[in-house]
């Protein structure tokens, strides 16, 4: 190694530390510049809104949302009129719950309007009961039952903005090929038709049984069959009441359908995987959300566009029933301007915006007047069916433990669907697990 002469530098350890400290301070200052900028000389109140990313249900103004220019202009006009600036945080839907949990746990203000889907009872102590302040004409235009998943402890904490109930999608071409004119009216026909159409590599039924928990998970699917059988999840005391003949019947139906169900179903985690099978023409029937009507009929992604039918769910012993996707807006308690937040929600529920929501993005409106609008019904051929489905029970049985309960219940149901245990044993085990969970919360 060559000998190196050391030149006495000005840098001693002290100056290095000093400069590091200065740099760190500079970094912190730079990081907070946006906050300072917002604080200095802004008349408009900022409304922070947490919603999912498109194509999940979003209000106007969210990037990539497909609202018309007219609606976007109306949104801009609303902001000007109300001296507000709406800032969206729109993560992908699966990340919403984690973010919300971290936000609420911090105890600091983060958002003024928060989208919820089945989490209202869970976060009920962080939300404002604002529903009573909504104008009467708006309330009259909303289905009363839509508030059942948003009410906890007697307080109504959110408002659903899209009628999203599970209905049955069926492939008209496949039915015609079998000479069947209409989709199944009841469980008996469902079993029979599913069997009939399972041949040549195609199946009668497909659904995503891969995710046990949440709304849209296998437990929630079973809950729609449970209601069709006339059963219920909880008794008046809050304890599980689903280990009943009705519950067993509901599960048995799902088990009976398994030989006629696309085998990938037990691994499909998202509704999209199941819908892809349906849209490729490989399965004749499925339960699905109203929004999926759009991609199922889109020639760019679907092989069966124009052949899709929407029908009421086949009736069980107690008639037809469904579950509520419960896409709702809420207002956290620590919002600095809840009145303005309320106004924003009213804007989202404005008839023109609701109509645009349906026509432009494919998410059905919640306002009954807009649902009955002939233009809306023409654009979304399934709107009338969903509206009719809404005349029948559609409880999602949401409680604060919904995630944990559906995780336990759903896992047991998955075992039954895989043939590892029978329906009666499954519900017995599930009931014990859920009882334990409910007791822990009490």
């Amino acid at each position: 190694m060559t000998d190196r002469r050391i030149v006495m530098p000005q840098w001693t350890r002290r100056t290095f530390l000093q400069r590091s400290a200065l740099t760190a301070t500079g970094l912190a200052a730079a990081a907070n510049l946006p906050a300072w900028h917002r604080a200095l000389g802004q008349d408009a109140t900022t409304l922070n809104v947490l919603v999912p990313a498109a194509p999940d249900p979003t209000p106007p103004g969210v990037p990539d949302a497909t609202y018309s220019q007219a609606t976007n202009d109306a949104f801009a006009a609303w902001q000007t009129t109300n001296a507000a600036k709406v800032v969206y945080e729109a993560p992908p839907w699966p990340q919403l719950h984690d973010k919300m949990a971290a936000n609420f746990a911090s105890g600091t203000y983060t958002h003024d309007v928060v989208y919820m889907s089945g989490w209202v009872p869970e976060f009920s102590q962080f939300l404002t009961p604002f529903v009573d302040q909504l104008p009467a004409d708006l309330m009259a235009d909303l289905p009363a039952a839509s508030f059942s998943t948003l009410t906890w402890d007697g307080k109504r904490l959110g408002v659903v903005f899209s009628l999203s109930l599970l209905t049955t999608f069926w492939n008209k071409a496949m039915f015609e090929a079998e000479g069947i004119a209409a989709p199944p009216k009841d469980w008996v026909e469902l079993r029979g038709m599913a069997e009939q159409m399972t041949k040549d590599g195609k199946y009668g039924w497909v659904l995503n049984y891969g995710a046990p928990e949440g709304i849209g998970g296998v437990a929630s699917y079973w809950m729609s069959f449970l209601q069709q059988a006339g059963g219920t999840m909880y008794g008046a005391d809050g304890m599980p009441a689903f280990n009943s003949p009705e519950g067993v019947d509901a599960l048995q139906l799902m088990i009976d359908l398994m030989p006629f169900t696309d085998p990938g179903s037990i691994s499909y985690v998202g509704i999209n995987d199941a819908t892809n099978v349906f849209a490729a023409g490989n399965a004749a029937m499925m339960l699905n959300w109203p929004f999926m009507w759009v991609p199922a009929n889109d020639p760019a992604t679907s092989a069966i566009s124009g052949q899709v039918g929407a029908a009421l769910n086949p009736a069980g012993p107690a008639g037809t029933a469904s579950i509520d996707g419960t896409d709702a807006y809420t207002i956290p308690l620590d919002s600095p301007d809840p009145e303005l937040a309320l106004k924003l929600i009213e804007f989202y529920l404005d008839p023109a915006v609701q109509k645009s929501q349906s026509m432009d993005t494919g998410w059905l409106p919640i306002r009954l007047s807009v649902l009955n609008d002939p233009e809306v019904q023409q654009k979304s051929a399934n709107a009338a069916t969903v509206l009719e489905q809404a005349q029948h029970p559609y409880d999602s049985f949401v409680t604060p433990d919904y995630n944990e309960v559906t995780q336990a219940l759903g896992t047991e149901i998955q075992k039954a669907l895989a043939g590892e245990q029978d329906a009666a044993l499954t519900l017995r085990k599930a009931s014990d697990l859920v009882t334990e969970i409910v007791k822990r919360r009490a």
Partner: protein, 297 residues
């Protein structure tokens, strides 16, 4: 050094200590944030009785053990291949760097696509080659799903281990091999008595590092199976996340994480022992590896 330690302490030690306290508490989400009440060891007692925890522990141990063995053996095979005359081309280590550099999320997304029951290439290849007669739902059976995740993780992990072992191989003085050949040792004998002892440190490093990384697997499970089917791919790390963020049972989640931490800590101790310079110097001094008599023994 002080600033480095301060940062680490601030960023990590505080939350870890907090997590420890959380594990002894009952944590509820209440208006204004989190409410905590110390409840002693109740969370840990619940752990012992929880069948899902037992399942997660079994899965974690199985996953770690199998992955470490597979990755070490395959990594060694690749390193040996790359240490041959044909393998010494510069392109090969470059090929190794590509899977290594991929983001775990990107890796997960790639394998999710490969394993797709309907459109995945694995089924397509299997059908074409006649290995399977109908499409297999790779992620549909709990046991298979866990192993498919293992394959995806191992694929990404082997490059690092290979490079590590390759560096180790190249560090073995060639005169040892010459001496062994002179003494008439066969290829296997040379491997056993020169290569393996020379690779002792890198192998141990590889084993310990890979164990720790295997225990930390998360992105793959999150993207591919979310713990399913039927909890078949639930491992400790994932369970801690699910309990904390899905069920908001922060105290219990902290308890699970602490168990995992202890497991990793034990491994980390082993790791530092292996790398301890004092011990290594002593060991090197004691090794009679240069003695030809030892090699032919």
């Amino acid at each position: 050094m002080a600033p480095a330690l301060l940062v680490l302490l601030g960023v990590l030690a505080y939350p870890i200590a907090d997590a420890l306290i959380l594990s002894f508490s009952d944590v509820r989400f209440a208006a204004g944030g989190i409410q905590r009440d110390l409840i002693g060891t109740a969370n840990y007692e619940r752990l012992l009785a929880d069948p899902t925890f037992a399942l997660a522990l079994r899965n974690s141990l199985y996953f770690t053990l199998v992955e470490v063995v597979a990755v070490t053996l395959l990594g060694l095979a690749v390193a040996l291949l790359l240490n041959t005359p044909s393998g010494r081309k510069a392109i090969f280590p470059v090929i190794l760097l590509i899977p290594w550099a991929l983001a775990p999320v990107a890796n997960a997304v790639l394998w999710k696509w490969i394993y797709n029951a309907n459109h995945g290439i694995l089924n397509a290849i299997g059908l074409q080659l006649g290995l399977i007669d109908q499409k297999v739902v790779w992620l549909g059976d709990p046991w298979m799903a866990l192993n498919m995740i293992l394959i995806a993780d191992a694929w990404k992990a082997i490059p690092f281990i290979s490079l590590l072992l390759l560096a180790g191989l190249q560090n073995i003085p060639s005169h040892l091999y010459r001496a062994a050949r002179v003494d008439g040792a066969s290829a296997w004998g040379r491997f056993r008595h020169v290569t393996l002892p020379g690779l002792r440190v890198p192998l141990l490093v590889a084993i310990v590092l890979q164990s720790i990384w295997a225990l930390k697997v998360f992105d793959l499970i999150y993207v591919l199976t979310k713990g399913g089917p039927r909890d078949g791919s639930v491992v400790l790390n994932f369970l801690a996340w699910r309990v904390t963020f899905n069920f908001l049972d922060v105290g219990y989640g902290a308890a699970i994480a602490n168990v995992l931490f202890v497991l990793m800590f034990v491994l980390a101790i082993g790791y530092v022992r292996v790398l301890d310079p004092e011990r290594q110097r002593r060991r090197r001094a004691a090794l009679p590896a240069a003695d030809p008599a030892e090699v032919t023994a």
